[in-house]
């Protein structure tokens, strides 16, 4: 639709063929099923003798559990079992969310149900298993717990003070992880600077709010000690591994099936105590047990995100040349680092990503990750990126304003430019090739930027405060084993794709990457159809079942296309080769003289149809006696792929937000939003556009609305969707998306990721737009979400 990306000379012959589906936007094969209401989400699955579990969650942010009286709950008809942490101690081993490559990182042992100590409001403490969810909740209401509340650690700023209680005394303090980065000589840069800007930013906690809550159904067969788990999740093999190790089952005895998943965004890729408890209870009882979080539970127990206080200083020459930067990031992660990915990645990426768009080399950063008695924080869509680029780009805009420079020109002057690749950033990130200048030029044209600036200036004279905000960004996609594997996490960075030619000529594809609505299955069907040479309708893709799919990592960090897509391409080429060998044997000719196009074996030179694929399937499967005696057909193939040549496939882009601020009410109205990004070769332009749009709106939510608000005692004040605001249709602008295509040369397909670019740049763009609107009023905001209250305080209307 909008992917009119430049045609490049480095086109791949498989992808550039006449019948290629790459770069086209066919309707997703699963759309019809979902539109018909025939989706099958985890809560739609029912099994015989299935039970339901509900959890008693701590009402206190920090409390000792003195006693639990379950007699009244047990007496309730329909209640099957009340389960405490001790009941599960012999069934499920605890876990610690640290990784070896985060040096010095520490966290405490965590269990499915709290034992003795509750460390956040919402932590599961006991479970009631009953014949229905309603009865299980009735049972929970009858549990009598004696709590001994303890002082809650809520403010990250004071978490490390000696006077602050230590949440896990064995750890010595509340510091989970700290890091200092130094590149070049930041002190010299600041000494030589003509101008320094300094700001402190507060990036509030928010959360994923997947419309389908976390859901899990675990069924255990004690006779064979086999566990089957239906799970709304992104990484089925990771879950299989964790369940096998922590429940003491052989890997092959654990099957994880992720049916339709109602949104994930990084929420459904972590180990949650309530989900582990559900599986452990299934083992304990030998019956299927289902847990579906309700919305209050989701707000209290889904991982939260961000929660940073960042102080930044930028040193510049008078002409706008950036010389160096200093950054101090403090982030609060709740009482535990989340298993197995840890809660250090968000801060680590924030301090490493912040300067990456620009060429200055002198950079110093400090990160401190601290424990608090709030819901655990971990990786959510665009991990670290939105904070990094909101901070960086707000500093750039402020510098431009103070130096009297144009916001476009100051960026252009400081970009890592086309002539500098391959390039390694201040913090060690490798960039094969980025396209900042092209993206910027395209964005300016797409958005009619200069005309909008003129309009803004004209309207200011009439008392209308509009603002335009740019946010350039890089995006980490397609991670190799350096991301988790080297730290000891058993999370696969490689993925496989198995293709099977069915006797009738169809192709069945199974893969380790997964579908949560982003269109993974459609994208893979396009790649497979193109590589094999069959109509896309003949390709059936199955994802999310550990028993049948090749081993893989699932979907996170925008890895589906870059890794799963490349595996599919290689598998498709291999299957095609094998098909042509069968055809050569059947037709007594050289396979090289044949080709497979639109499901027919054709003469490669003339295109004349020689054989139907169904006829080939019939002979290969049912009449192999008619083939030469020394010929064995291989019509199921598997290929794997892992990025070996770079740690990540970085992408880049830039966004523009257009807003109007009402200085009387503090309300921010979104007038329009534009984004130009470069995810490499685009498989399905419409799906990429929609990834961008959805991700941008998540970023806008963070910028303006979404906030997990706690009181000083650690009580969550935003536990419903009436209190926690999400973006709804009426407030959202139209979003125009453009692309630049810089394929990676390290993989044949040239694909990179696109899932997080929108969220990476939107908060910074909105922040800059609001500050642009407020500039003539002498006000400036540095706090997200930018609520009317924040705006009115900046204007001095509220104090």
């Amino acid at each position: 639709m909008t992917a009119e990306g430049a045609t490049r000379p480095d086109r791949n012959e498989v992808i550039a063929q006449a019948d290629s589906y790459i770069g086209k936007s066919p309707v997703r094969p699963q759309a019809r099923r979902l539109l018909d209401g025939r989706g099958s989400f985890t809560d739609d699955v029912r099994l015989p003798r299935m039970l339901h579990v509900a959890f008693l969650r701590s009402p206190h942010a920090h409390a000792r559990i003195v006693s639990l009286d379950a007699a009244a709950a047990r007496a309730l008809p329909g209640v099957v079992r009340v389960v405490t942490g001790e009941d599960l101690s012999g069934i499920c081993a605890g876990w610690v969310g640290t990784l070896a490559h985060f040096q010095g990182m520490k966290s405490a042992m965590q269990h499915p149900l709290a034992r003795g100590l509750a460390t956040w409001q919402g932590e599961p403490v006991a479970a009631v298993v009953a014949e229905s969810r309603a009865l299980a909740e009735d049972g929970v209401a009858r549990l009598a717990v004696e709590w001994a509340p303890l002082p809650a650690v809520t403010d990250a700023e004071t978490a490390l003070d000696p006077a602050t209680p230590v949440i896990h005394p064995d750890l010595g303090d509340n510091l989970a992880f700290s890091l200092e980065l130094a590149s070049g000589d930041a002190a010299r840069a600041f000494a030589e600077a003509d101008h320094v800007v300094r700001d402190t930013f507060w990036m509030g906690r928010h959360t994923g709010v997947t419309l389908e809550p976390r859901s899990i159904l675990a069924a255990f067969d004690p006779s064979e000690r086999r566990l089957t788990v239906y799970h709304s999740f992104q990484a089925p093999h990771m879950m299989q591994d964790v369940l096998a190790r922590h429940l003491g089952l052989p890997e092959s005895h654990v099957r994880v099936i992720c049916p339709d998943v109602g949104g994930s965004f990084g929420i459904k890729v972590h180990i949650y105590p309530d989900e582990m408890a559900t599986c452990a209870i299934a083992v304990l009882l030998g019956r299927p047990v289902k847990f579906v979080a309700d919305r209050l539970e989701s707000f209290q127990s889904d991982i939260h995100a961000r929660d940073h206080r960042v102080t930044a200083e930028l040193a510049l020459r008078r002409d706008g040349t950036m010389l160096g930067m200093r950054l101090d990031d403090l982030t609060g992660i709740g009482p535990y680092s989340v298993y197995p990915r840890t809660s250090a990645v968000e801060g680590n990426q924030t301090v490493r990503l912040t300067p990456g768009v620009y060429r200055f080399r002198d950079y110093a950063a400090r990160l401190r990750v601290v424990f608090q008695n709030k819901t655990p924080m971990c990786q959510y869509r665009a991990v670290g990126h939105p904070v990094a680029f909101a901070v960086m780009e707000a500093m750039v805009d402020r510098a431009a304003r103070e130096l009297g420079l144009d916001p476009v020109e100051i960026r252009r002057r400081n970009y890592v430019t086309a002539d500098m690749y391959p390039y390694t950033s201040q913090t060690g990130y490798f960039f094969e090739r980025l396209s900042h200048e092209e993206c910027l030029d395209k964005l300016l044209a797409l958005s009619d930027y200069r005309a909008r600036c003129a309009e803004r200036d004209r309207l200011r004279a009439e008392g209308v405060y509009r603002g335009l905000g740019l946010c350039a960004f890089i995006e980490l996609t397609t991670p190799g084993p350096a991301f988790y594997g080297v730290g000891g996490a058993r999370i696969s960075s490689q993925d496989g794709c198995t293709l099977k030619l069915e006797p009738g000529g169809g192709v069945t594809c199974t893969t380790g990457v997964t579908e949560q609505g982003q269109g993974t299955e459609a994208m893979l069907a396009q790649v497979v159809a193109t590589a094999v040479g069959v109509p896309m309708e003949q390709v059936r893709v199955l994802t999310g079942d550990t028993l049948v799919s090749p081993y893989g990592g699932g979907t996170w960090a925008s890895r589906g296309a870059g890794i799963g897509g490349e595996a599919a391409l290689q598998s498709g080429k291999a299957l095609k080769g094998n098909i042509l060998r069968v055809a050569g044997a059947m037709l007594s000719c050289e396979p090289d003289d044949l080709d497979l196009r639109r499901g027919k074996i054709v003469d490669a030179a003339t295109g004349e149809v020689r054989l139907d694929l169904a006829e080939l399937g019939r002979v290969a499967y049912f009449r192999p006696d008619t083939l030469p005696k020394d010929f064995q057909s291989e019509l199921t193939v598997t290929r794997h792929y892992v990025p070996r040549h770079q740690g990540f496939a970085f992408t880049n882009g830039i966004q523009l937000a257009h807003v109007e601020v009402d200085p009387g009410t503090g309300f921010v109205r979104l007038l329009g939003h534009w984004a130009v990004e470069d995810c490499g070769r685009i498989i399905n332009p419409r799906l990429v556009d929609e990834q961008l749009r959805g991700a941008i709106v998540q970023g806008i939510g963070a910028a303006l609305y979404e906030h997990c608000v706690y009181d000083a005692a650690g009580q969550l004040l935003t536990g419903t969707m009436a209190d926690y605001l999400v973006p709804m249709a009426a407030e959202m602008p139209d979003i125009v998306v453009g692309h630049v295509e810089t394929p990676t040369a390290y993989a044949e397909g040239g694909f990179k990721g696109a899932g997080e670019a929108g969220t990476a740049g939107a908060p910074g763009a909105v922040l800059n737009a609001v500050n642009d609107a407020l500039a003539p009023l002498g006000a400036r905001v540095t706090r997200q979400p930018i609520t009317p209250d924040v705006v009115l305080r900046a204007l001095g209307v509220l104090r």
């Binding site: 989706g39 919305r295 609505g517 929609e690 969707m721």
Partner: protein, 171 residues
Amino acid sequence: MGVRPETEMEIALTVNGVTVRRRVEARKSLVDFLREDLELTGSHVGCEHGVCGACTVKVDGALARGCLTLAVQCDGSRVETIEGVTASGELDDLKAAFAGTNGLQCGFCTPAMLLTADVLLRDEPGLDADGIRRGLSGNYCRCTGYHAIVEAVLATARLRAEKSTADRTPR
């Protein structure tokens, strides 16, 4: 089950054109009744407090939150769900438009979004994009950012307007 008889009621209602009689707990919501008792799992549960709109169904022709309506309140009513309109084909044009713009990703909000958009188009056929955004503002979608949904509803509005003009034009 451990439910006392006095907390249950016998109800009779029409669901997707079929008369249904069931004994239900008085506290059971309409959407739980549809999903659990009738196995109509196309209606989804998102927030259970009336904000997200994922449970939206039609009761006597009007949109209703399945989570804020008790099943027993629907005694004698006519309830329509995504399964019903899929069987009748009455939303096929709207569905085709959603498929065309990719106005759905995970599909969890989609059945309710379709029912809501259809009633909106019926009640206010002349709406522009802003009007459609307002009309859909009670239905949360985390995946799409709404742009493609609005495009699909606008396109359907145009097609339906053309069709209605054509139907009225004497031949």
